[in-house]
């Protein structure tokens, strides 16, 4: 039982990264019916932006000789600033790679997305070199043991921040006018712009929101696994993409749940079987789920092909 609970804790942490990234894929798909294949690399960019903001902030604090800020204040600041900056990266990706292709076949936009992702990776490698940066230690690790289950404060923080962000996103989409516009666009891509809803602004907003969430995921990832590399976004990004599809395309709740589910599957497979079998079994399970639920958990069937 303790063993089980321990793995549940691990899986919650691992799944929250997937869930946060999957939300970005899912929102873009919901509004534009496109996959943003640069999203995994935006996660990487977010982690690096977080790294630079954190180092800069620490330098600033120490050089000004201020009273040292508590670590969690710095972390919250870093997350907010990095989310803000990365949101603009996402908007730029939409502007350069997706808006010119709005009338083009959908696959063309997928290719530009892939290519922008490659530019991010190589650009990072060219600018920063092959050395791996390590994320600064902002909060000290404290370990709690509750009934035989070890939990660190970082783990609790990561899961809590992820859930908080997901809740905030849900409120935004359900309660605000912009959120309503996004939902309307997801409902009918063709008619809603005729009602005076600005398609381009909504698309930019969607990319921005998704990228901000990816940046948050990147920083939390950096807190948990402090080594950053230019290619850290590829595998995580593609797996989160799978989770987004599994949740049902365009469904926020579905993406979050599927992200956590993927985390659970991976962690439990890795503990029960040899860890080399992780991808094999995890993807086989996903394949099976998709065979029986072709549209994911919460997706609706697209009866006809909408754009190609």
């Amino acid at each position: 039982m303790e063993f089980f609970l321990q793995n549940v804790v691990n899986a919650l942490q691992w799944g929250s990264f997937y869930a946060l990234i999957a939300l970005g894929y899912s929102m873009v798909y919901g509004v534009l019916l496109l996959f943003n294949f640069a999203h995994g690399d935006i996660f990487m960019v977010g982690a690096y932006v977080g790294f630079f903001v954190a180092t800069g902030l620490l330098l600033l604090v120490s050089s000004l000789g201020l009273v040292s800020m508590p670590g969690w204040v710095v972390l919250v600041l870093v997350i907010l600033v990095a989310m803000f900056i990365t949101a603009f990266v996402g908007v730029a990706v939409e502007r350069i790679g997706y808006r010119p292709l709005r009338q083009a076949p959908r696959a063309s936009a997928a290719i530009t997305g892939l290519m922008i992702g490659i530019i991010f990776e190589t650009g990072n490698l060219a600018l920063l070199g092959a050395r791996r940066l390590s994320f600064p230690e902002l909060i000290e690790t404290t370990t709690y043991t509750i009934g035989g289950v070890t939990v660190t404060n970082k783990r609790i923080m990561i899961v809590a921040v992820s859930l908080l962000l997901m809740f905030a996103l849900h409120q935004f989409v359900q309660r605000t006018k912009w959120g309503m516009a996004m939902r309307a666009m997801a409902y009918d891509f063709a008619v809603v712009p005729l009602m005076g809803v600005p398609l381009n602004s909504i698309a930019a907003l969607t990319f921005g929101l998704g990228s901000a969430l990816a940046a948050a995921a990147g920083i939390l990832f950096g807190v948990a696994y402090p080594v950053l590399s230019p290619y850290m976004g590829i595998v995580v990004g593609w797996k989160a993409f799978v989770a987004a599809i599994l949740g049902g395309r365009g469904s926020i709740l579905g993406a979050a749940l599927a992200g956590f589910l993927l985390g659970f599957i991976e962690i439990f497979v890795a503990t029960i079987f040899p860890s080399t079998l992780r991808d094999l079994i995890a993807f086989s399970i996903i394949l099976l789920i998709l065979v029986f639920r072709p549209h994911g958990f919460f997706g609706e069937a697209h009866t006809s092909r909408l754009r190609l």
């Binding site: 696959a107 080399t276 991808d279 993807f283 998709l290």
Partner: protein, 444 residues
């Protein structure tokens, strides 16, 4: 603003008019003339290339038309251009232009005798030129073989993503299945190997049986495709994309866990049977078969399914069967390409069939153009040549290539040459006005 615009557009017009004027004398040269020109130019390089290169101050024969030299040592730029002019451009242009009357009659006669004979003669000339060009160093041989394999891959993906209009991501997986299938076939039967023990059959027989090994690899890939095809083609939309992506991860992970093929360390020691003629022959067969496949009623049914599945169904197209056959066909060729790939590099590991490969194949396909055999060939060749030519730039290469692709996608969203049919007779027919073909009704 308008003044500038009109000035710009007249400038553009001037350039295109100039190019048209430049091209005009050559418009009468048939493909036969060009091929003979290329062959002679290559012969020229083969015999006096080194001498000319030394005279121009180049250390050795420029490997890829001088592009590498230009990027590595820009000071040699004029010499490299001069070399290309002297050895390639001027001889080819002269021969193509001045033998035009002769080659036109010859090409006309050949087509009149037997169209397939004409095609074979052209292919033979092309292969001779390619072989001589590649012969000069090993690097060229490798580049040419990998480029030809890319053509097979791109073409087979075009059947699914272009002609069928789905988005499949599983080609690296099929390639891996084909590569490992063919490798196990040859290693098990014909090679004394540590993993598989003694050869069961004499190695001399092996080269003749190599096509069988490739077909075996292709068949395994097609079998894998069946696993995707059965659940995927019940619904439309982006369902195939995700299933095929999951399949790709599964195949890679499966091979990493199979110890008897080396696991993550990979599998090496394949015999060197995938030489240039073999790869070339398989590429030609693939182009021929695929071209006939997409031009057949079956291919037309495939296009109908892409454009409107309900309507196609109403017109008695068995949509599910059509999609399955096309998908298996594509997977088969991807498997063959994988088998050739394994025997060209003589080593495979599961790491080479991952997301990077997927991005590469997709890029080649969408760069060249959907729904077009010529587009796939152009896409594969240009991608490989550009990526080899920019090699001296090292890391910047992977910024320049994506930028090129983004620009192509923005200005030509369907790729360079999309939605065209490959008509071989049209390419090789004589170009003078007297010999307009009299309804030659042969599809290759």
């Amino acid at each position: 603003m308008t003044a500038i615009n009109s000035k710009l557009s007249t400038g553009k017009k001037d350039v295109s008019l100039f190019l048209q004027k430049l091209w005009e004398p050559f418009s009468v040269s048939p493909m036969l003339g060009w091929l003979i020109g290329v062959l002679i130019a290559v012969l020229l390089e083969y015999t006096v290339g080194l001498y000319v290169a030394r005279m121009l101050g180049l250390p050795k024969i420029p490997v890829l038309f001088g592009v590498l030299i230009m990027l590595e040592t820009p000071i040699l730029f004029p010499s490299a251009v001069l070399y290309v002019l002297i050895i390639f451009i001027i001889p080819i242009a002269l021969i193509a232009r001045f033998t035009a009357p002769l080659t036109n009659t010859l090409a006309g006669k050949l087509i009149d005798v037997q169209p397939w004979l004409a095609v074979l003669v052209h292919l033979g000339l092309f292969y001779a030129a390619l072989h001589l060009w590649a012969e000069i160093n090993d690097y060229r041989v490798l580049v040419v073989r990998l480029t030809l394999i890319s053509i097979i891959l791109t073409l087979s993906l075009n059947v699914v993503n272009g002609y069928m209009g789905e988005f499949s991501c599983s080609h690296p997986g099929f390639m891996a299945l084909g590569a490992y299938g063919a490798s196990v076939f040859t290693l098990f039967l014909f090679v004394d190997d540590r993993t598989f023990g003694e050869a069961l059959l004499p190695a001399q027989l092996g080269f003749l049986m190599f096509p069988l090994g490739l077909v075996f690899g292709g068949a395994i890939a097609a079998l894998g495709a069946l696993i995707i095809a059965i659940p995927s083609f019940r619904t439309r939309g982006d369902y195939l994309a995700i299933i095929s992506l999951a399949f790709m991860f599964i195949v890679k992970s499966l091979i990493e866990n199979l110890e008897f093929v080396g696991g993550p360390r990979g599998l090496g020691g394949q015999p060197d049977w995938a030489n240039l003629p073999t790869v070339f022959a398989w590429t030609v067969i693939c182009i021929w078969v695929t071209n006939n496949f997409v031009k057949s009623t079956f291919g037309k049914a495939l296009n109908a399914v892409r454009d409107d599945e309900v309507a196609a169904d109403a017109m008695t197209v068995n949509t599910r069967q059509t999609k399955m056959v096309a998908f298996l066909f594509a997977a088969f060729w991807a498997g063959v390409a994988g088998g050739l790939f394994a025997h060209v590099l003589r080593y495979v590991n599961p790491g080479s069939f991952g997301l990077q490969k997927l991005a590469e194949i997709l890029a080649m396909l969408y760069f060249g153009g959907l729904n077009s055999v010529v587009g796939s060939i152009v896409g594969a060749v240009s991608f490989n040549l550009v990526s080899e030519a920019l090699r001296p730039l090292e890391i910047l290469k992977w910024i320049i290539i994506p930028v090129i692709f983004i620009l192509v996608m923005i200005f030509r969203p369907t790729g360079l040459i999309a939605f065209t049919e490959l008509n071989v007779i049209n390419i090789i027919r004589p170009k003078n006005k007297a010999a307009v073909p009299q309804n030659v009704e042969v599809s290759q």
